[in-house]
């Protein structure tokens, strides 16, 4: 038997607590989102500063160094396609939103992941929280965002950042925990303090996993930045949302294609950087 009263009460509690969080954290959230927004505008401005063709050229050059000529040419062709489709501004806006929110997500997720790896309580708290965050449908993130921050870029970047944290945190935690016990033992045998062990053995040993987390975070940030178009995020997300509303199939396909291109470029580039790092190892 379901009791509608109970659910009504539950709903009321959720609503009230979210409201409460909103009001009590208002100042903090405003500052946080304002900072994010400022960074976003800065990055977006910087990315739009060079001419589109110059940008594509630079992208090609960097990609050539990291993933080779063939892929560099492919990436250039992809971004040129975005330019030709008249989606340049949107492409850059989405790229900027993705990069900034992923960077912030990493700055939050990796330290918290390290904390969860060395502290049992932090691990116990983070595990269910991360599972919850990862399984919660992404659209649900948007509502509290709108409730706290209103409609616009700040909500888009905040929710995107939040959504992209779990893989960074989880894979950092996992990576540190999976470092070979023999290496830990060697560290201890040579007199490493717990902090030295963390900095010189555990984190370096966890790098492959942490890097996989970076890649995942980037991908999730891109996915969420598109969804955030609904709540006023600009770029391709807004474009997709608009075309859906107007049943503009061709427009939707164009925007979708641009998103795929960004995804491929970001994914392969970040993977390539990881591979390069792993092959040669860090500079001594």
């Amino acid at each position: 038997m379901t009791n509608p009263d109970t659910f009504a009460r539950f709903d009321a509690i959720i609503e009230r607590s979210i409201e409460k969080i909103g009001t009590s954290l208002e100042g903090f959230l405003d500052i946080f989102s304002a900072i994010l927004e400022a960074i976003l505008f800065g990055v977006e401005y910087a990315l739009q500063l060079p001419h589109a063709l110059l940008f594509i050229g630079l992208l090609g050059l960097i990609s050539w160094r990291i993933v080779g000529l063939r892929r560099a040419l492919l990436f250039m062709a992809g971004f040129f396609l975005c330019l030709a489709a008249g989606l340049w501004e949107e492409t850059i806006a989405t790229t900027a939103l993705t990069l900034v929110s992923a960077a912030v997500a990493l700055m939050i997720g990796i330290p918290l992941g390290i904390l969860a790896a060395v502290n049992r309580t932090a691990d116990k708290i983070s595990l269910p929280l991360m599972d919850f965050m990862q399984t919660m449908p992404p659209y649900v993130y948007l509502l509290p965002g709108v409730a706290f921050l209103g409609f616009g870029e700040s909500t888009a970047i905040s929710t995107t950042t939040l959504f992209a944290i779990p893989p960074a945190l989880k894979l950092t935690n996992l990576g540190i925990r999976q470092v070979d016990t023999a290496q830990l033992e060697a560290g201890r045998a040579f007199g490493a303090s717990p902090l030295q062990l963390l900095l010189k053995v555990q984190i370096p040993g966890a790098m492959p996993s942490i890097m996989a987390g970076v890649n995942q975070t980037l991908m999730l940030a891109l996915a969420m930045s598109v969804i955030a178009g609904i709540v006023g995020g600009g770029g391709l997300g807004a474009m997709v949302y608009k075309t859906i509303m107007f049943m503009d199939i061709a427009g939707a396909f164009n925007a979708g294609l641009a998103i795929v291109i960004i995804a491929i470029v970001i994914d392969r580039l970040s993977e390539g950087m990881v591979a390069k790092l792993q092959k040669t190892g860090p500079e001594a």
Partner: protein, 374 residues
């Protein structure tokens, strides 16, 4: 320097015993264990009590208390400059024992002394200091850090001690020279073969210039030829550096080849401690006897074990006099004695300080090779 005394005694059983006695009264041992125990399990305390008072063995302990005994009542002293081998099969507790020396594993009971200093209650900071200065460790699986090149791996211990880069690289290069890996500084561990990786592991331990080397089956994971080669190099290196070494192995050949003294470990208990010759000629029990049965005695058993008193010697009919016999000394190996008898076909007179102390006949030599006495 006590190392010189150690060097002198290193070869022989009797010397070792007397030296140990005199050392105990006036000097410290680099490593000393007093009645060490390690018991794993929830009821470790009760189990320890039972094992001490009722003398349970490993399987009884498991049956009655659900506890696993890693090490039971291990006591030994390692002399300066000595290579002390602990030989046992897997699960005998030897890896647990070596980790109690640097407290990677905390003993359940008993005491470890490094240079006469009890370390079991050292605060963790002092313990880290002791590990980084005095105790170098080498691991079976090398345990090199994959994201550091060879030089930074070798300099790792010094880096932990916050030694300046230039100084630690100098030490690292010197250590790499000792293990014949000069020129490989900038390679990464994954780029090296197993044998080379273990040399890096050894260099890492040597770079901190420790007083004591703890070697946990360092050559066990290598293929036989490489293992032999590293053993030989290690013997040479050890003669050069004279580091006190605790060497763990499951390979009796290796223990005999390297060890000045050997401890045989079974089910957590040190069943016998002695020189290779003592272990082979006077095994304590059937377990040790089984172990040593297949070992060639030629280079490990010496004249003093197979010789008979001179008084019992009856010259053969053609009237050989003692003065006509080929001569040798008590520390001559069976191998050397065979050479003499093969060349001259006469009994051998064993002399010490120009005094005859015994006679080795063909018969006593052959029985000695078989490990039988008359």
């Amino acid at each position: 320097m006590p190392t010189q005394t150690a060097a002198k005694m290193a070869g022989g059983a009797k010397n070792a015993d007397t030296n140990e006695g005199s050392h105990a009264s006036r000097d410290h041992f680099p490593v000393e264990c007093r009645s060490l125990y390690k018991i794993y399990g929830k009821k470790a305390k009760e189990a320890l009590f039972a094992i001490k008072n009722e003398g349970l063995n490993k399987s009884q302990l498991l049956a009655h208390y659900g506890c696993v005994a890693g090490v039971i009542d291990a006591s030994f002293r390692i002399l300066p400059g000595e290579i002390f081998c602990i030989m046992g099969l897997s699960g005998s507790g030897k890896s647990t024992l070596i980790r109690q020396i640097n407290r990677l594993i905390e003993p359940t009971a008993g005491e470890v002394l490094i240079d006469g200093q009890p370390i079991n209650r050292l605060p963790s900071k002092d313990m880290r200091h002791l590990r980084s200065k005095k105790l170098g460790m080498v691991f079976q699986n090398m345990a090199l850090l994959p994201r550091r090149n060879v030089r930074d791996n070798v300099a790792f211990g010094l880096e932990l001690r916050r030694i300046a880069k230039k100084e630690r690289y100098t030490a690292a290069e010197k250590a790499l020279g000792l293990v014949q890996l000069s020129g490989w500084e900038t390679k990464y561990p994954q780029e090296l073969s197993g044998g080379m990786q273990q040399r890096v592991g050894l260099a890492r331990a040597l770079a901190v210039d420790p007083d004591i080397l703890l070697m946990d089956e360092p050559f066990s994971a290598l293929d036989p030829l490489i293992r032999r080669q590293l053993q030989k190099e290690f013997i040479k290196l050890s003669e050069l550096t004279r580091k006190t070494t605790l060497f763990i192995t499951h390979d009796l050949d290796e223990a005999i080849r390297l060890g000045h003294r050997i401890a045989i470990m079974k089910d957590g208990v040190l069943v016998q401690v002695g020189t290779p010759e003592e272990i082979i000629t006077q095994p304590n029990d059937d377990y040790v006897a089984d172990f040593v049965a297949g070992i060639s005695r030629l280079k490990l058993v010496y004249a003093h074990t197979v010789m008979k008193p001179v008084e019992n010697y009856q010259p053969p009919q053609d009237g050989l006099r003692l003065a006509d016999l080929p001569k040798s000394h008590p520390k001559a190996s069976l191998d050397a004695l065979i050479d003499i008898i093969a060349a001259q076909d006469k009994p051998i007179l064993v002399e010490e300080d120009n005094k005859p102390v015994g006679i080795v006949t063909k018969r006593s030599l052959l029985l000695g090779i078989q490990g039988k006495s008359e």
